[in-house]
């Protein structure tokens, strides 16, 4: 009976996922340029949120310096492409390897003496800030003046990952889809089970034979590498890289808002959260600009974060799921029962 229940749920999830992405695809084809550019950012931050979520929501390790990995990805793509004309594909790969190894080293440094929790989180920001300052002073990568990509010529070049805004929208969409499928895949594999066990109770997990030291390093480097991939694409979309915006504290906060607002550790949380938070932020900063009130978007973000943790501590997405279950609980239960009779 339980197997069938799972299968029913499975079918609903697939249907929901496919519908969402079909709608997002239509948006890419039909929407106006403003919506396209906004949604590109939403989708990219969905992917970045996913990578952060992998680390905290599944692996149980808090990073508040994810900008480090995003920035490494962005600079790898930027430097190789702008300075040497090497394809961003190579840049993405380089960035992932680089960020993955940096993530692994930070994790190793920290967990070697079983330093965890707050110290680890503080170490992640310290590393990010250190990198930001170093990049700000490094002339070769443009220092504070930043790196600029040449404006796209108009045509779409898959091999060079260059194209117009719509092209990048679909790249971001593909990335977000890949993120969601990848997260689902990982949480169903043995890694997902082992990581969640480690997140919920580390010493109990160790007693069941989980080598938590290795797994923590693994989950952190995987998260770092995927964040770098997102950062590389973000740099291409924005057409420029500045150390303060791509490696700053602000970006680290932007990365975690989606999953926190949407739902920690859930597959769809980062998407839902980014969809809710990023347009709101854009709206508020536009409003702030027109009213000449510069801090309005900060205030809104702050209030949203506090209220979500206060009223919906597990995020919007789980609340939606609960609501759906409450509304259509009895009829679907009846549906499953009837199916049981058939089979």
């Amino acid at each position: 009976m339980q197997k069938k229940f799972d299968r029913g749920l499975e079918r609903t999830r697939w249907l929901a996922g496919i519908t969402v992405f079909a709608v997002l695809g239509l948006v890419g084809l039909l929407a106006n340029p403003y919506v396209i550019s906004l949604m590109t950012i939403v989708l990219l931050f969905t992917f970045l949120g996913q990578s952060w979520n992998l680390m905290l929501g599944i692996g149980g390790q808090l990073s508040i310096g994810h900008a480090l990995f995003v920035g490494l990805g962005a600079y790898s793509v930027g430097v190789l492409y702008v300075k040497y004309g090497i394809s961003p594909w190579v840049g993405l790969l380089t960035g992932m390897i680089l960020a993955g190894s940096v993530g692994a080293s930070i994790a190793w440094l920290s967990f070697r003496f079983e330093v965890r929790g707050i110290y680890f989180a503080l170490l992640t920001i310290a590393a990010a800030e250190f990198a930001r300052i170093m990049f700000s002073g490094w002339e070769f990568v443009g220092a504070m003046q930043g790196l600029f990509f040449a404006a796209p010529t108009g045509g779409i070049e898959i091999s060079m990952l260059r194209g117009d805004a719509r092209f990048y929208y679909f790249v971001a969409l593909a990335l977000a889809a890949l993120g969601i499928i990848g997260t689902e895949f990982i949480s169903r594999s043995y890694l997902g089970y082992v990581w969640r066990a480690m997140r919920d109770d580390e010493s109990a997990a160790r007693a069941l034979g989980v080598r938590t030291f290795q797994h923590k390093i693994l989950v952190i480097s995987l998260s770092a590498a995927t964040a770098a991939a997102g950062g590389g694409v973000l740099a291409l979309v924005q057409g420029s890289i500045f150390p303060d915006s791509i490696m700053g504290m602000g970006l680290s906060v932007d990365v975690l808002i989606g999953p926190v607002v949407g739902g920690l550790g859930t597959t769809f949380g980062p998407l839902v959260g980014s969809l809710a938070a990023i347009p709101l932020n854009h709206l508020m900063s536009a409003l702030g600009d027109s009213l000449r009130i510069p801090g309005l978007n900060n205030i809104t973000y702050g209030v949203v974060l506090i209220s979500v943790i206060w009223f919906l501590p597990d995020g919007i997405w789980p609340a939606i799921v609960r609501l759906c279950k409450a509304i259509q609980g009895p009829p679907t239960a009846w549906l499953w029962q009837s199916r049981k009779v058939e089979e």
Binding site: L109, L122, I133, I309
Partner: protein, 289 residues
Amino acid sequence: MLSLWLNVLASGILLGLVYGLVALGLTIIFGVMRVVNFAHGEMVVFGVYIGYWTVRLWNVPIIVAAAIAAVVMFAFGYLLEALIVKRFVNRPHHYQFIVFIGLSLLFSGTLLVAFGPDPRPTASQLSFQTVSLGLVTLDLARVQAAATAGLLIALLGAYLKFSPFGRSLRAAADNRLGGLIVGLNIPRVYAVTFGIGAACAGVAGALISPLFDAQPYLAVDFTLLAFVTVIVGGLGSFGGALLGGLVIGVAEAIAALMFTPSMKTALPYALLIIILVFRPRGFFGAKEI
């Protein structure tokens, strides 16, 4: 050459005392409540603005501005704890972090709305005065800030060590269950602790208002600086915060002399990473995290 080095060292130590006061606020809050105040930098900046406005409106000495900052920020911290932070004290660390990130965005946004993004220099009477001690020449504002910070650190230390309330505070930090057993009013202890932490940050902010222009964007730097300071010294340790402040102050001053300005800001982080490699819990780190 010697006098240059001595000057740099002395000004580093002076600023280090103020950093120590900032870090002390953070470390007291953490030691008692096991909460990391991510909005600590905003509280420093509140202090800087209090310094700026009191001096501008009433032309009072900085010491008076610092006293006003202490009172205002204590009340602010107390209320903030009793109204908001309280609800999140027993939640997992990542929830607390997110709440504090929210608070810090809220505060910096409010500062932006109220005062705009432009830096405001405080016109203190001391701004251009200096004192000379043999080879060393120091500006008076810095000396005064450091002296006041040093005095406050000593007073706070004595208060915690010898007063009945300081005893309760240390008891709550040592063993919360034990505190409940002897009948400590834990919520009140927590609110006062948070008030003291905020007041430390606010006073430090007012003291440095002649040295740093009041500006909302300063907050992030102060938060990070306080983090680095307490990690270097060891989270939750009184002496560690002071030592961390001095180390960071001196390191910054030396770096400013030897490297480019950007390297100066990077040095504390580099120092932090080096320390974490060799002494992962800082000089006086607390055992439990």
